[in-house]
Amino acid sequence: LAKTTQPISMDSYEGQEVNITCSHNNIATNDYITWYQQFPSQGPRFIIQGYKTKVTNEVASLFIPADRKSSTLSLPRVSLSDTAVYYCLVGPSNFGNEKLTFGTGTRLTIIP
């Protein structure tokens, strides 16, 4: 998997939009970008995945610029329940037997 860099922590107030950026300068042509969310005492769960431009689902949006060297996870109008750790992973579509390693993630704290 490509090396990724994220902020260690972020704070935001309820109702605001939160953007978490992940840098992946060494992303390969066939790599996808995947974000996970982890609540305390739970395993990470898949949020969103994309290859280029913009992807949106009911939970979040993922913005990927043309050079694909970074990506931004956007959470609209956050609530206290969005307090969690968010992980960015970058890996190939032909995953093969490559091990799945996570970085330290971004600890997002929503303030009432």
Binding site: D31, S41, P44, R45, F46, V90, S93, N94, K99
Partner: protein, 113 residues
């Protein structure tokens, strides 16, 4: 649909005692399987991963071992637990051909006293 089970959910063990945590996956075949450990307030540490029956790769030298006796069964073991083995243990699976998309079990909270 696919599901992943882990048990037990919580475990309190004395130092020096053995350990066996089990993970099973349903609804898929030939998954890649992973064991992670997460210490309090820390990130996910990859312990073992397996691409097939009997094929185990170890990431961190320690007193833990893993086995995969069946295609969808992954077991984490120790002969003698250390205090430092306390943590939250997570099993995960994915399949080849899916970009880094993985699914996690509910986890086991292990406390070694």
């Amino acid at each position: 649909s696919q599901t992943i089970h882990q048990w037990p959910a919580t475990l309190v063990q004395p130092v020096g005692s053995p350990l066996s945590l089990e993970c099973t996956v349903e609804g898929t075949s030939n998954p890649n399987l992973y064991w992670y450990r997460q210490a309090a307030g820390r990130g996910l540490q990859l312990l073992f991963y397996s691409v097939g029956i009997g094929q185990i790769s170890s990431e961190v030298p320690q007193n833990l071992s893993a086995s995969r006796p069946q295609d969808r069964q992954f077991i984490l073991s120790s002969k003698k637990l250390l205090l430092s083995d306390s943590g939250f243990y997570l099993c995960a699976w994915n399949v080849n051909g899916q970009a880094p998309l993985a699914f996690f079990g509910p986890g086991t909270r292990l406390t070694v006293l």
